[in-house]
Amino acid sequence: MSIEETTPRQTEFPPSTEFDVATDELLVNMGPQHPSTHGVLRLVLRTDGEVITEVTPHIGYLHRCAEKVGENLTPRQWIPYTDRLDYISSMNMNLGWALTVEKLLDYELPEKARHVRVIVAELNRIASHLIAACCYGLDLGSFTPYMWAFREREKIMNLFEEVCGARLTYSYITVGGVTADLPPGWLERCETFLQELDPCIAELHALLTSNAIFIRRTANIGVLSPEMAVSYGCTGPVLRGSGVDWDLRRDGEPRYTQMYDGYKFEVITETDGSYPQDEDYPPVPSAAVLGDNWHRFYVRMLEVVQSMKLVRQGMEKYRQTSDSIGKPVGIKQKLPAGEAYLETEAPKGQMGFMIVSDGKPVPWRVRVRSSSFCNLSVLPELCRGVLIADIPAVVGSLDIVLGEIDR
């Protein structure tokens, strides 16, 4: 499908939604303050009764000039700003930025640091997907899985607090390694957490994945074809939920994929009508169409299990290495002139970081390619002809976070 066919309304840019409303249509504002827009997102809906004819997202309510600030701080000083991009999976943001700067510096990472990074990044992926899946239930009116998932997420945050002192914005993965080693006993506590997480996942499946009402609310709604997903730049579970077999941890740049050298995991996407290793979980319902909300949700639930496997492998490899956790580069380290761009597989999609340097410690330009920005751009396409009640369902299935959209 070409881009002309997918965007039939070729009005002048920007589209004048507010000024040409027909008399039988209602222009409703799902304002920046709304319980289910996952942040300060403003959606202007043009509706005919309950049926949506057009959705226009307005962003920028959380813009904090992070990229501009990056032109005044050295890379290690800018790490806390990466925390606040996708604040739900800060470790992955730190990781993306650190890898990009290490690429510019052509830095060789010690083995132990690599394994610690895998452990915390995948733990944060579990936390992020738990929020995504269960806030999705919350958007649909199911309060209980949200509480149970947050109970598990509390344990992850306690683990991270032991590691780096913060519960949400960690600034732990730094350029050159990690800031501190794992405390003694942490691996045992992490293993305990993983064992407690398994029955919780089963409960979440029972309450959400196989719930008839949940299926009716999510199946065959917001269907995203693989071609449209690729053309709009959607990545992560949004892309894999449409059946495209693409994961940067396996298919990305060598500097990123060598972080997962020796790790075994499956890329969760539907191939030949079935998902990898889904025999223990509820089957795909007959009403669900590939690329709909339900499939994106299911991909996230299965990715949690894969991340658990990765964390266990990481802990095993960490025990066997006796390397160092890396030494952070100097705070005013001179950066070589040049530019580096690296994309990593963050929980919400592919996050790209770019650094352009002209030889000074402070970069000349910092740029973030946000996964949620591109995922959100497909929202007007998905929401043609749905009911108002489906808007939170589609937005929730895209799993956006405004911190990284607005930066």
């Binding site: 504002n29 239930g137 009116g141 199911s142 309060f143 209980t144 719930n211 009402i213 009640a389 489906d390």
Partner: protein
């Protein structure tokens, strides 16, 4: 009660007694309804907390936080009175009270024990359903008068949903009414006296299924999840309640809990035997008591008191069941709600009504066949069947056409009613 007191007073002033007794009844009912609403908010918080793996209120009033509800009520009364600038001021103020009055008036005809009812009506079921249907006016007015599009959406959804679900609700209610042959709730409850297998729930499998359809329609009629899209938090902020704060909000919520309580009460009487327990303790007490006299009367009323506690227990169990379902299931979309009503609940309820009617007819034929003495002219009055339709035929056969015109027009003089 009113007649008992009135006999002491001069005929000209007897109306004072009647008004006084009516006022006392109203005050008692209002106290019960308001206390029940407050207790249910506490129960909702505790039940939801336990389901969500946490504790709920634990600080106000000791370990169980039972004073949380009065504390919240006090806070809500003291809140600033905000009316949006675009709101219709009179209707905005009026709407919560319409809902609450409608919810409260339903209790007038709801008996809590044998003959313990504020207003004994022989069309009590009809009265309750009709008055409960007025509650939706408050919601629609509230949503419209708020002057906000989101509230309007909530109100329109509510209008469609509640009014549509009154149809299957009425059909479900028809089944025990048909079995009992009367709409008088005191009689319907009295017919289920004894052990639990006398309950209408176990009368036939169709009534059993009807009970569950009734519960579903009751949840839809009171805007409980999975049907709470009128106040859907995640989509409409709070739907028609968005612009309401403080005392007016609390009136709406009292109306919601009151109507939950009332519908559970209706279901308890129609299907679960009302004040008659699984075990006929009340009857045993009365058997133990002397035949007549003050002790007899006192024992009867004490048995009634136990029955009332039993009834309230059933109502509370029903409300907690509704809360349990609320915190487990996601919310349905408006078109799915309407599909469930029109394509599932209405045909199912109609089928159950038909099934129950055929079952009762077949049962009465079987009973007649067993007890009828050998050769005698065929008569449908050999054993008076429980089905009202056959009773009516029997009466007409005995007394000829006397201008009987249906169940709803018996005069208030016929207090005895027609029991089996």
């Amino acid at each position: 009660m009113a007649e008992y007191l009135a006999q002491f007073i001069n005929a000209d002033w007897q109306w004072i007694v009647y008004v006084g007794v009516a006022l006392v009844s109203c005050v008692l009912l209002l106290a019960l309804v308001a206390t029940a609403a407050a207790a249910f908010t506490w129960a909702e918080r505790k039940v939801s907390a336990r389901i969500q793996d946490r504790l709920g209120p634990t600080r106000r009033g000791g370990r169980f936080g039972w004073l949380q509800s009065p504390a919240d009520g006090l806070k809500l009364i003291c809140k600033e009175d905000i009316i949006p600038a675009g709101a219709d001021r009179i209707l905005f103020r009026l709407a919560p009270y319409i809902s609450f009055c409608a919810s409260f008036c339903v209790f007038l005809a709801l008996p809590f024990a044998d003959n313990w009812v504020a207003l004994r009506l022989n069309t009590a079921v009809f009265f309750m359903l009709a008055v409960a249907g007025l509650e939706v006016f408050g919601t629609i007015l509230g949503g419209y008068a708020s002057g906000a599009k989101w509230s309007l959406y909530g109100a329109m959804r509510e209008a469609a949903q509640v009014v549509s679900y009154e149809i299957p609700l009425g059909l479900c209610v028809l089944v025990p009414v048909m079995i009992a042959g009367t709409m008088d709730l005191v009689e319907i409850g009295g017919q289920q006296a004894g052990w639990f297998f006398h309950w209408n729930l176990f009368h036939d499998p169709f009534t059993f299924v009807t009970f569950w359809i009734f519960i579903t329609c009751a949840m839809a009629g009171t805007n409980r999840l999975p049907f709470d899209l009128a106040e859907a938090e995640s989509e409409l902020v709070a739907g028609f309640l968005t612009e309401y704060s403080g005392f007016r909000w609390s009136i709406f919520f009292m109306a919601e809990y009151a109507s939950m309580f009332a519908l559970c009460g209706l279901g308890a009487i129609l299907f679960l035997g009302g004040w008659n327990g699984p075990v006929p303790i009340g009857q045993w007490l009365v058997l133990l008591a002397p035949e007549s006299g003050l002790l007899h009367d006192a024992t009867v009323q004490f048995a009634n008191l136990l029955g009332m506690c039993n009834f309230i227990f059933k109502c509370v169990a029903g409300v907690i069941f509704m809360m349990w379902v609320r915190w487990t299931l996601p919310r349905m979309r408006i078109d799915q709600v309407m599909t469930t009503c029109l394509k599932y609940c209405v045909p199912l309820a109609s089928a159950m009504f038909l099934g129950a009617m055929l079952w009762t007819f077949a049962a009465s034929v079987v009973v007649n066949a067993r007890t009828e003495p050998p050769p005698s002219p065929p008569s449908t009055t050999a054993v008076a069947p429980r089905c009202y339709a056959l009773q009516k035929t029997a009466r007409e056969a005995e007394h000829g056409e006397e201008g009987n015109d249906g169940a709803g027009t018996r005069t208030s003089d016929e207090k005895g009613g027609r029991r089996q």
